[in-house]
């Protein structure tokens, strides 16, 4: 269980968080092309090494934040609030599940209204 230092709550077990993904800039809706938009929807750098990504503290402060994690060691070397993104980082995006997910688990609400 890796520890993720939430910028508000401090270090917590990673199971308290939802992994959101690599932040990507949302294209301008008025001018975007299908290629640009779908790259935004689907593409990842998927790097093996240090990556910047977005997390959500689901069972804590319920805030979105950024993190820099090494995808081979899972070491987290820093985290930041949306307004404190380090230089060069893509802004955090609230568009969390850019593409809809239909995955249903025990924690999903089920199938009725």
């Amino acid at each position: 269980m890796i520890l993720l230092p939430c910028p508000w709550c401090g270090p917590r077990n990673v199971s308290e968080f939802r992994y959101v993904g690599e932040p990507r800039r949302r294209p301008d809706v008025a001018t975007t092309t299908p290629q640009q938009w779908r790259a935004y929807l689907y593409n990842h750098t998927n790097a093996a090494g240090w990556v910047r990504e977005q997390w959500f503290h689901r069972t804590g402060c319920r805030q979105y934040f950024g993190a820099e994690r090494h995808t081979i060691t899972d070491e987290v070397r820093r985290t930041w609030r949306p307004e404190q993104a380090p230089a060069g980082a893509e802004p955090l995006l609230g568009v969390t599940d850019r593409a809809a997910t239909t995955e249903a688990g025990p924690d999903a609400g089920g199938d009725v209204l």
Partner: protein, 935 residues
Amino acid sequence: MSLTAVAAPMRLDAQPGEVIERGRPLSFRWNGAPRVGFAGDTIASALAASGVRVFSRSFKYHRPRGLLSASYHDPGCMLQVDDEPNVRGAHRRLRDGMDVASQNTWPSLRFDVRAANQLVGRFIGAGFYYKTFMKPQVLLPAYQSVLKRFSAGGRTSPDDPRDYYDKRYAHPDVVVAGAGPAGITAALAAAESGAQVLLVEEEHDLGGHLRWGGTEDLARLHQLRDLIAAQPAIEVMTNSVVVGRYDGNWLAIVQRELPHACERLVKARAKVLVVAAGLIERPYVFQGNDVPGVMLSTAVRRLINLHAVRPGHRAVVLSANPEGDAAAEDLARIGVEVRRVLDVRRGEDLVAARGGGGVRSVQCHDGARIDCDLVVTAAGWTAPTSLLNMAGDKPVYVAEAARFLPSRLPDDVLPTGGIAGTGDTDALIAHARATGAEAARRAAGRGEAVRIPALPAGRHPEHFIGRTHGMVDFSEDVSSKDLLSAAREGYDSVELVKRYTTVTMGPVQGKLETVNAVAVLSRATGRTIGETGTTVWRPPYAPVTLGALAGRILEPVRYSPMQRWHEAHGATPLVAGAWIRPDRYGDPAQEVRNVRERVGIIDVTPLGKLDLRGPDVPRLLNLLYVNKWSKLDVGRVRYGVMCAEDGVVLDDGVTGRLGEDRYLMSTTSSGAATVWEWVEGWLQTERPDWQVHVIPMTTGYASMNVAGPRSRELLQRVTEGVDLDPEAFPYMHVREGRVAGVDDCFMWRIGFTGELSYEIHAPAMYGLHVWETLLDVGDDLGIKPFGVEAQRIMRLEKGHAIVGQDTDGLTQAFGAGIDWAIKLDKDDFAGKPELVWQRDRDDYFVLVGLQPEDGSVVPPEASQIVEGRNVIVGRVTSSRMSPTLGRSICLGFVAPHLRAAGTRVTVQLPDGRRITARVTEQHAHVDPEGVRMRG
């Protein structure tokens, strides 16, 4: 002669370090026959004392197996105890009344028909099954059913109860894995330096090898135990194992046989882990090394000194180290005739052991053949580096010491004791003392580094395999010959040979056999042991019950304030994710009729509800929904559909404007959590400048829908402060007032059921009161509760789609048939570009209403709509028999060329029949004009 002595012919007189309580005899059964032992005995020691030599049969060749290590990981001693399979008989303490049985025997331990496999051994070497039964294919199942009979495991039953298992978290500064002299010393040193310490020992008592040592060892043992007892900062766990070290020094510790629990999993976030796992004695590979009576020197010393059991009468000892010499001395002391000690350090060796059910003789390197019933080997030690490997270490092989040593570890893991190097007890203790102090310092994150003295690798003969072939993996029945032939066939890396022969993959998990396997492989390939390397050690270090891993059942369950009422009134429960809801109280069709004709009430508390406050809420709604929200007046509600950025329908619901800057958004029950995170995501990261507060209110309100032509009349009897006149409170409006004496209730006029209906949201603490009052006051109007099933029927009659049922993971908004709601002239909203492109494409399946021509047939949901033999052109997403229309009704997807009203489509039913259905004008089957709900 006492009865006990008769029953236990191999029991010795009192030994100085014995752990048995001779005053507490225990009786148990062994393969059905009564036996006795003492408290403090292990099952195996009690059996050995009673003269049992053969405990099991081996996995493949069904060779008889006796004690080997007399420890937890003794491969020959996996037993069935009552309803528990695979009990480690050489570890589990005897309890009165235990029913113990050997496992891998058929029909009996003494006479095992499958032992015939021994005769055909040369034909069924490792991997033989890959080379036969290829053709004909039909033989394979027969072969597999034969193989199944050979399964070595114990027995389970579908009726076994789920026992009490437990878990807890811990936050120690320092965890010490292993409580031999080094572990104890490290724990003491860490505690003295101010650390909170957890000391974990796999055996039942602290002390490691001191326990079966001589007078001096025992004196030291008592001294260390006294120090531990006096140290309040150390929590001691015996019969417990650190089974895993995961990222972030997250440790899994299993405590066994607790007063209240079979096992408990302790999850410890240790600041520093000290690994003091000691050393495990390694078997020697030679012909006959698995014949009962061939034992490790530690097994012999445990039997004698801990359990006062005579391991044999005439012994031959192979010794490569002082511990082997000590075993020979122990044997001599208790009167075993030590017929020869073969000293490896002087070039002496053991060639073969002979015997069937027990060893009868050995052959020595000089040709001598010696009759004996006990062969003791002390060929060397394996460092159980599993926890170090899990921490990223790649231990290096040191040939002079014939062992692996730790190489590089993270700062929060420190090895000490025998696993870290070789030395006399004083040197090891000095190392442990420094290590404990340094662990405490690192845990505190301050202070000056403590210098840890280096431990030498030590010297030990490289004595892994003899001049004959023998067993390497005792639990998997893999011999050195098997490994050799596998390497010759090309399975010549350590991982390939493991996978091909299954060496190290059995219940002992490689602890006894890994290094020997590597030694055989390196000899076969001409590489050194260091070059060959070991397999990856994977967690857990010791097997853990599923019960302990699962712990108590912690699955959150959610109830509405009225759920107990539903249960008391005969509701059939429906599990809907975390919610338990009433599916029906009786006949759903009757419930539907009652709503359509009179009035019904349903509990819809699980509907997601977000209280949205602030001046920028309309902007937020415009961004999230595909439709427009800028001009929603106070007191009005509107239906909206949300899409994800890929244009796929995410959720739907109505949102009402309660006040100038206050809105209440409802979501589907299953989408409540997702939508909340979705909304927060946009606000926190994309639009942080907007002034909106989102307050989750799903269970703050008990929600109930009062539906039916008499609903207004009913509500007039209980509502204060709201004019219910249809002119004053029309359809798609919201009002706040007092219902059933409860203030601050919201009422929405919406019509999911298609009836005149009022959705009442009452503060949840009064939910049951409002519900009971409505039923009470409405009795003469014919009010009856209805469940989720009746609501599903009515919403389908009304043609209301359910997101996730009438849409799927690829349904973009136009495909849901809600073109009227999608406003592409808005500047922006989630998923807009995709919907613009979808509109232009016009090649997608679209949701339509469907009615089978034969109204008596209800095509099951997910029936496919087909053309030709098997071209799929749609599917039924929802279907029910409509009590209102007396015919079957559906919603379904159809291909673009079939979407026009009146089109006939072919539905293939699951039973293979095909029926025709007609595409209807609207989704709604009942009252498409909405007269009833607007009434």
